[in-house]
Amino acid sequence: MMPELGKYAFAVMGSYAATAVLIAALVGLTLWQSARMKRALAEVEARQEKTDG
């Protein structure tokens, strides 16, 4: 199943690995920031709703 990459295996596999790492970092950071901001906003909105009655 795995294609024969020959003497270029490092270049090809390195490219795919580096891309996977960079995209995973971007997606992970984006989801983490999104979840953190959602939580922080929900907390403040709940607090202000309570205060406003």
Binding site: Y8, V12, A18, Q33, S34, T51
Partner: protein, 242 residues
């Protein structure tokens, strides 16, 4: 219905909430199909051997690195002219995504260049303008982080974006008007004779579509976070005043 409706944060949040699951699904399908097809089911190139498989990462990421900056240019211009907050927040949200694509293009380009050109890097017009574009991405993000007042930050970063656009365009067209350097011409062109062979072209187009949708998905998600962050700051300011 006008496009300016989406400048309303509430309307943007509603529409993006509907669009996001579709964008995520399509991104995953296109990237998996394109990359699996390209990696496992295409032959080696007669000149470049198996390194041709890097094309499915390098070309789409390089295209999106430049297109992300163009999108930031358009949304920054909208901010400068019409003062719509969502538009400049979308530009801010796009910068880390564009930077990631730029880094992917640089890394995969170096890994591809070493066996083909015999060097990881050359001060070639396209490579150099791409490196400068990378520095503009870092500068743009640093400027957002350095200026406290959001509207001042939006004004300054929009101006920086206009200046950086010179290098974004240079990255794309350098190969056309500078007849020197190691980097070859465009891999895809409207001129059929210049295109890569069909056997590589078909999965490549799918990968390009996947990278475009990955960009759209990330920008939608990040813009939503920026809008929430802006609302959070407004609510906290209200608390302090009360």
């Amino acid at each position: 219905m006008s496009i300016w409706e989406y400048a309303n944060p509430k309307k943007f949040m509603q529409t993006s909430a509907w669009a996001l699951p579709w964008a995520v699904g399509l991104t995953v399908v296109l990237l998996v199909v394109g990359l699996v097809w390209g990696f496992f089911f295409t032959p080696d190139d007669y000149k470049q051997g198996s390194t041709v498989k890097i094309i499915y990462l390098h070309v789409p990421s390089a295209m999106m690195a430049i297109n992300a900056w163009v999108m930031m240019l358009v949304t920054s211009l909208i901010w400068i002219v019409r003062r719509h907050h969502v538009s400049v927040l979308a530009a801010k949200a796009a910068a880390p995504v564009g930077l990631t694509f730029t880094l992917i293009a640089l890394v995969t380009g170096a890994l591809w260049g070493q066996p083909m050109w015999g060097t990881w890097w050359a001060w070639d017009p396209r490579l150099t303008s791409f490196l400068i574009l990378t520095l503009f991405y870092f500068g743009y993000m640093a400027l957002w982080a350095a200026v406290e007042d959001p509207d001042t930050a939006a004004d300054l970063t929009s101006i920086l974006c206009l200046v950086g656009s010179v290098f974004a365009l240079l990255s794309r067209y350098a190969v056309l008007f500078w007849n020197q350097g190691l980097h070859q011409g465009a891999s895809l062109s409207l001129d059929k004779e210049e295109n890569v062979s069909d056997v590589f072209w078909q999965p490549l187009v799918i990968c390009i579509a996947g990278f475009i949708l990955l960009f759209v998905t990330m920008v939608l998600l990040r813009t939503r976070t920026e809008i929430r962050s802006r609302r959070l700051k407004a609510l906290l300011a209200r608390e302090r005043v009360a």
